[in-house]
Symmetry: D3
Subunit: 140 residues, 6 copies
Amino acid sequence: MPTVRLTKRVQFSAGHRLFNPELSDEENGRLYGKCASPGGHGHNYRLDVTLEGELDPRTGMVVNFAELEETIRREVLDRFDHKNLNTEVDAMRGLVPTAENIAVAIWKCLDPNVAPGRLVEVRVAETDTNIATYRGEGAD
Amino acid sequence: MPTVRLTKRVQFSAGHRLFNPELSDEENGRLYGKCASPGGHGHNYRLDVTLEGELDPRTGMVVNFAELEETIRREVLDRFDHKNLNTEVDAMRGLVPTAENIAVAIWKCLDPNVAPGRLVEVRVAETDTNIATYRGEGAD
Amino acid sequence: MPTVRLTKRVQFSAGHRLFNPELSDEENGRLYGKCASPGGHGHNYRLDVTLEGELDPRTGMVVNFAELEETIRREVLDRFDHKNLNTEVDAMRGLVPTAENIAVAIWKCLDPNVAPGRLVEVRVAETDTNIATYRGEGAD
Amino acid sequence: MPTVRLTKRVQFSAGHRLFNPELSDEENGRLYGKCASPGGHGHNYRLDVTLEGELDPRTGMVVNFAELEETIRREVLDRFDHKNLNTEVDAMRGLVPTAENIAVAIWKCLDPNVAPGRLVEVRVAETDTNIATYRGEGAD
Amino acid sequence: MPTVRLTKRVQFSAGHRLFNPELSDEENGRLYGKCASPGGHGHNYRLDVTLEGELDPRTGMVVNFAELEETIRREVLDRFDHKNLNTEVDAMRGLVPTAENIAVAIWKCLDPNVAPGRLVEVRVAETDTNIATYRGEGAD
Amino acid sequence: MPTVRLTKRVQFSAGHRLFNPELSDEENGRLYGKCASPGGHGHNYRLDVTLEGELDPRTGMVVNFAELEETIRREVLDRFDHKNLNTEVDAMRGLVPTAENIAVAIWKCLDPNVAPGRLVEVRVAETDTNIATYRGEGAD
């Protein structure tokens, strides 16, 4: 049967501050610029989750979009939406909340939960112009 | 010469109902939810067709965008646009009109008709948030 | 207090066929072109609802966006989403389902239900390029 | 001479929490829902500033877009971008940082600074679906 | 009958250079910055044309979108699309090709040709962030 | 460590005419249609640059988005923005300024300048519907 990819796009709003407490204020400022601003700020994150799988001829589906949406809601949105990524999200504990780290963390939340689909890409757009994409390569 | 990809984006509007006549109404409802609503509904489908080929140094082109657009018009839009995907489109005969099946069917319409380009991806967005992508893998 | 406008954007998918049963097939074809195609088709409609009201200094709100969203869900989406606009929507009974008629019908659904806000505009985009806007002028 | 409107679109990212310290936690929760989440969150705000003025036949301009952009940068972006709207922005002092209050506050920042243009609209989109518009009506 | 507005969105690509030959090079540079660059450049212009009129109960239309599109093609796109706005467009003769002047010129092209609709707004977006809007006010 | 991709999106406006001086006017017209229009025209080009690299656990970054933006500004925007691609851009010398050739030329500008990231894709959208993508394959 054909192998087809599904992409589900969702959005969430979260707060963050780019800051590594193990570095000096000066080095944080040099690395993160205005993103290290002390009061914190936030973004509307756009998340594109892509699975692949074999097309089931009976249903015409790879996985059910409604079930995928429910999985993303439970595993990602309930944890990340309207939360502070520095202090309130277990999946981000100990990580500087860059788009790159958010993409890897969301991969880890979703990867065990999308069978019979296979997770192939997590894409996190922090703004319309800054996007991080993770495809599961090099994971520990 | 460099190998370059071209993507042409078009849109079409079509009607559909997600329903497999070989299943019970109850199972259709469970599988397809509101998409099984009896009166049918429809979408503005956004279609991204991607080819690749070698850049011709004389023209600066891989294939002519105008010819690609004409091929898509003839092979896809004339058959799918403002049609009912359950009843009026030969390429969808016998298939539940999911985004996945539409992507595979459009691949079959276009693949024999894009030389000297090579079709590499057909991407069908049923809505801004539900997207199916087919890359010719696993075709019968 | 300042008078502020709120716009809530939602989307719904519905089926329709532009056809007036009181006209001949020939006249329907001349008026509506491919939109009169017999099997029907459909669209992802984008709906922008705009209210105005006085800013409440205690809440910082004109009306609560969450309540406005709930009103639109109850009065519009539950009636229009994934429905056939020619046959399944009471608010469209006897009307050719053009974007213009849809905008006026949605105004009538919402206008009695948005106090203390005042409805000032209903904007219906049938596609990215065809948009109808109704501001309550000339209503019967 | 023709009177023409200019709209300049910019974006900024800021943190906020919807919370009125004069209300009980329970009432804050009831009013603001997940937007009252204690750690705060944030948004990519899209700001559309519209001026009107007479077209100068010598320059073909109403006001110079480059000067308008510089005014918005100095009066708004330098104060709001990558800041916490509850604690770090003087123009928001004492105000719950709703989209409505942000729109009115930005109007007050810009209105004295756009001559010979006349400010006619400030539009703040907190997300793609929640938008507040202020036209200077009812100002104190 | 209800008065409804229709907006038709189209796009065209054109070349221009912001330069007034009656001014010195220095003053042109000061006024127009990089837009006065001598080789010229260009844009994808997005044009939104808005009419209003009474809803015809027989057709459900104010004016036929297909006819409006044809009028815009004939009166605007055939003259502006893939043309140089400094040298090849009669409607722009003697005008610096700013977004403001383009909006007024397009108004003059369309206004005599949209009956029984009434032209209410011409909106020209030179980029996603620079937009000029003309509503027929102050015309000579 | 995880390998992550970063995409930075920028825009530039440039003028061009599709025309190969080694071909006859007739053949240029046949190949390029209205894009061969003698006065030239232009576009708002949207450029997506994608790098990949290993996530640095200390910074949470692959490469610093701010540095990538600065590299794109220096190597691409300063050369292409508000320029005529037929006559004013060294990187396009001798090339017909198609989207395909622009993508390859921008790859050559960026590839030596993005270490420790690795350039994996340059995507040039001439309009919303015509897009060329180059991944460094087949380069001379």
